[in-house]
């Protein structure tokens, strides 16, 4: 790889609050209370409304004029709202107070509030806090902030116990189950996931913990884990047949699994994935793709599309570049792939229009305007919500990129 540059200008990325859309489904007894404005509430509703209207485990405490004018004590107001909320939802065991731009600008101290409320409601409910604000976090960084808030509270692993493996980053339950089976076949049985499905199943960590990132946007979580003496296993991300294989291999090496056993544990999955990808390779090879900066998945996805499907990468935009976590990915990218860190929306749009890619990966706000220009698009948000990791999902992932192109060949009118 090479050709990376930095741009600064208008961004068109969600803020970290958006992570709540999948996190609140993942941790089934957790509730996310955003302390923010009507804008924050409206963002959640617009980005998630259609998907999770049924039974959200999130809500917004909307700050109003009285709070700002000091007519109401914001902390007392927050306590009142939390009480009201917990009375209505006795099933909640873990409550996140989620900071927003307004709560940060007015310096509302949510960590003190969380501490105060935790004491008040323990042991029934634990209260933690993190910030999903748009001035601090982009889109998937909200998950990073949430997970790193969990880390200091994780139980300490027993020093006598052998090493354990921690998989970090929210994954679909089905993907977790598949991964657990592969690790078991390799003889790694002490595997845990962060975040867990229930707040009562928090993984234990300590100096014997090796962790493997399943998502590419977890810089703060990694730092917090290191502070608890856990050590990272360097690996690419588990996207595609080869990516997934290398990801498992990194764990195998760290846990001293011999080559034969690794092969036996992964061979069937890898072969299945490669076979299934073949069909999509025919459709996608040589097609030109352009990434707008959005989810942080851009670099691993581009690596997968180039290496395993033969697509041509025109430009990778990424909100920010974490070189250490991306090291394996960057070396696997084709030479001279242009990477642009930090967006400048209008300039990126200019380049995109000029290059006329076959496919563009972008946020929801840009998709239809690009389609109207005759450019096929894939929403990046779908790549965050869909199970795409692991061997069995490699072809599903390829299909997501093939579908917009196949659709165009079908429509005649």
């Amino acid at each position: 790889m090479s050709g990376s540059g930095v741009e600064r200008g208008q961004r068109a990325v969600f803020c970290g609050l958006t992570g709540i859309i999948w996190l609140h489904r993942k941790i089934q007894d957790a509730f996310f209370l955003i302390v923010g404005s009507r804008t924050c509430a409206h963002l959640m509703q617009s980005a998630a409304g259609v998907m999770v209207f049924a039974e959200p485990r999130f809500a917004t405490a909307i700050i109003d004029e009285r709070d700002l004018a000091g007519l109401a004590d914001a902390n007392a107001e927050l306590d009142r709202i939390v009480k009201q909320l917990l009375a209505r939802r006795p099933d909640i065991k873990l409550l996140f107070l989620v900071g927003s731009c307004p709560s940060e600008v007015i310096k509302l101290d949510l960590s003190r509030a969380a501490h105060r409320l935790s004491t008040q409601f323990s042991p029934a409910v634990r209260v933690l806090n993190y910030s999903g604000s748009g001035i601090e976090t982009t889109f998937t960084q909200g998950e990073d902030a949430c997970l790193s808030a969990l880390v200091p509270d994780l139980p300490a692993a027993d020093r006598e116990q052998p090493a354990n493996l921690l998989i970090v980053g929210a994954l679909a339950d089905v993907v977790e189950d598949q991964m657990r089976a592969v690790f078991a076949a390799m003889g790694i049985s002490r595997v845990q996931f962060l975040p867990p499905r229930r707040s009562t199943q928090m993984p234990a960590i300590g100096p014997g913990t090796r962790y493997l990132l399943a998502q590419p946007f977890l810089a703060d979580t990694a730092r917090a884990l290191e502070e608890r003496s856990a050590r990272r296993i360097d690996a690419p991300f588990p996207l595609g047949a080869d990516g997934t294989s290398a990801w498992f291999k990194a764990a195998a090496d760290a846990f001293g699994v011999d080559a034969g056993r690794f092969e036996r544990a992964t061979d069937a999955g890898r072969q299945r994935a490669r076979g299934a990808l073949g069909r999509y390779r025919e459709l996608l090879a040589g097609k030109r793709i352009f990434f707008f900066p959005d989810s942080q998945l851009e670099i691993p996805l581009a690596r997968f599309l180039a290496a395993e499907l033969g697509m041509q990468i025109l430009e990778i935009g990424t909100p920010y570049l974490h070189r250490a976590h991306m090291a394996c990915e960057l070396t696997a990218l084709p030479a001279a792939t242009p990477i642009v860190e930090g967006p400048h929306l209008d300039k990126q749009l200019d380049r995109c229009r000029e290059l006329k890619p076959d496919l563009v990966v972008c946020g929801l706000g840009l998709a239809n305007p690009l389609e109207a220009l005759g450019i096929a698009t894939k929403w990046s948000i779908e790549l965050v919500f869909t199970p795409i990791q692991g061997f069995e999902q490699a072809a599903d992932l390829a299909e997501l990129f093939a579908r917009p192109l196949v659709r165009r060949t079908r429509l005649v009118a």
Binding site: A12, F14, R38, T39, S46, I63, D67, L68, E77, N368
Partner: protein
């Protein structure tokens, strides 16, 4: 602070975006953090506009806060001007930027751009989307039309004989509930009357168009939520009267035509002559079963008031509840509710609306997408009459709410979710048929799952569960024979009847006594 699960309106700057996006030649520079760019998807995904809203967000970050957010704003404004070459620039702040007090208006003026710059002060912590749209439209209209204003108190010169009357049509925006189709329907009425349209705004208007608003003889206000402040100002400044009855429903459409004809000095007959299918369908014998069905109405003020009137006067329903989230027009909604002998529910708290629907157990809910979800949970048929909008509220076919065609669309939309006449009877007679039983939805709506019994997700307990009244087992069984869509009401009425008479346990006798007592 207010605990909010779902909101009926976005923040006021989204209202401003609805104006900017509706128009041509306007650009909006919004001082806001990156997450606020989600608002673009309202227009590109929900309304499926093929272009981005004309909005530049400064997307300042925490690291800018100590430094020069004002400089960032000015750079963004200058770049936006150079790139998009608008005729007028709107500038303002979202909720977060409002707190850092950078004064976008002053900063933009200091750039000395050669176009009008209209600063917006939208009080994000107090006001909401529709207010923001109204304020933005008013500010823009004032900024553009003021130069042509005659001295205060100048009466309008009389129209020369032989010159056609001209009006402005005010109110339709981007992201409106059927605004684009309504506009077509209204233009058709004006055409039939021989009234010319001078300017339609904000939809499809440019700032230059706004500058000639004063030329028209009068204004037609389609959505008071959005256009009333601007129309009031035009009235004061140019002595332009306004038609303020939105033509939603047959009665309102006829009134609208009469009003326009009066102001234009033309004969209303050609427009009134349009045949209405809805009027005949409602009188057809098949519609007898609609009589007295209890409906609950909730939406923005314009659509809720109109819906209540249509429900009562044009379909023969009974309006059991009426409410709106439009606080700015609360008085109008209260007056309308009083005409139906009920008290209006003015709230933007979705949980309160849910509680009232659960309590009233209506047979049909006419509401927004939120009420649609409430109704679904409670197993009550529902039709959507108002924003907040959903992608389904942008049908591919022409489906206005206004004018005679709008009345036809409304008839179909509201009647469709209900059991058809004979089906309702058959259900009552053969309620134990294994396929055709009372938990089955109307057969033309397909094999949907049985209506959800109040699910665990219902945040507010239904009153029935809150203070359960003792029922004799036989009475419960008898109650179960009543079709589900009236069972809730029967239970409620019987319990009220029993409570009033201090009956300790409800028996089959009590059930039929109550039925006789309440029968209409």
């Amino acid at each position: 602070m207010q605990l909010t699960v779902w909101t009926y309106e976005g923040p006021p700057h989204v209202g401003a975006m609805r104006i900017a996006t509706a128009m041509r030649g306007v650009h909006y520079v919004l001082h806001a953090p990156q997450g606020d760019t989600y608002a673009d998807l309202l227009f590109t995904m929900i309304e499926r506009l093929p272009r981005r809203p004309p909005v530049t967000y400064t997307t300042f970050q925490a690291r800018d806060l100590g430094g020069d957010t004002a400089g960032l704003f000015q750079r963004a404004a200058r770049e936006a001007y150079e790139r998009f070459q608008p005729q007028a620039l709107l500038v303002g702040a979202s909720c977060t930027a409002e707190l850092i007090q950078d004064d976008p208006g002053g900063l933009a003026r200091a750039l000395e751009l050669p176009i009008p710059v209209v600063p917006l002060d939208l009080s994000s912590y107090q006001k909401k989307e529709n207010w923001g749209a109204a304020e933005t439209f008013y500010r823009l209209v004032r900024a553009m039309a003021s130069p042509a204003a005659p001295p205060r108190g100048t009466p309008r010169p009389a129209r020369a004989p032989g010159i056609k009357a001209r009006c402005n049509v005010l109110g339709p925006t981007a992201l409106g509930f059927r605004h684009r189709d309504d506009l077509v329907a209204v233009r058709e009425i004006l055409d039939r009357l021989g009234v010319e349209v001078a300017v339609t705004a904000p939809l499809d208007a440019s700032p230059a168009d706004l500058a000639r608003l004063g030329d028209a003889d009068f204004n037609v206000v389609l959505y008071p939520e959005i256009a009333r402040p601007a129309a009031d100002w035009l009235g004061r400044t140019f002595d332009q009267p306004a038609v303020v009855t939105p033509p939603i429903g047959l009665g309102a459409t006829r009134e609208f035509i009469a009003e326009v004809a009066r102001l234009a000095g033309v004969d209303p007959a050609p427009a009134l002559a349009a045949a209405s299918r809805a009027a005949w369908y409602s009188r057809s014998v098949d519609s007898n079963y609609l009589t007295g069905k209890r409906v609950f109405v909730f939406g923005d003020a314009t659509h809720a008031i109109a819906a209540a009137r249509i429900a009562a006067d044009e379909l023969g329903f009974t309006v059991a509840g009426l409410g709106s989230y439009t606080r700015e027009l609360a008085r109008e909604v209260r007056d309308a509710a009083a005409r139906h002998g009920i008290e209006a529910l003015i709230t933007d708290d979705y949980l309160q609306v849910e509680a009232q629907i659960a309590e009233l157990q209506p047979e049909l809910v006419l509401g927004t997408q939120m009420e649609r979800h409430i109704a679904k949970r409670l197993g009550i048929p529902c039709a959507v009459i108002s924003a907040p909008v959903h992608v389904q509220d942008y049908p591919a076919r022409y489906s206005p709410q206004m004018g005679f065609e709008g009345a036809n669309v409304i008839f179909d939309t509201w009647v469709h979710p209900l059991m058809m006449g004979l089906e309702e009877h058959l259900l009552t007679m053969f309620r134990d048929d294994f396929e055709f039983h009372d938990d089955a939805p109307p057969s033309h709506l397909g094999p949907a799952p049985a209506p959800a019994t109040a699910s665990k997700s219902t945040p507010a307990p239904t009153p029935a569960a809150a203070d359960a009244f003792p029922w004799h087992a036989d009475a419960e069984k008898e109650l179960a024979k009543i079709p589900f869509f009236v069972r809730g009401k029967a239970r409620r009425n019987t319990e009220r009847f029993a409570r009033e008479r201090s009956v300790p346990v409800i028996t089959v006798e009590t059930l039929y006594d109550a039925k006789a007592h309440f029968s209409r």
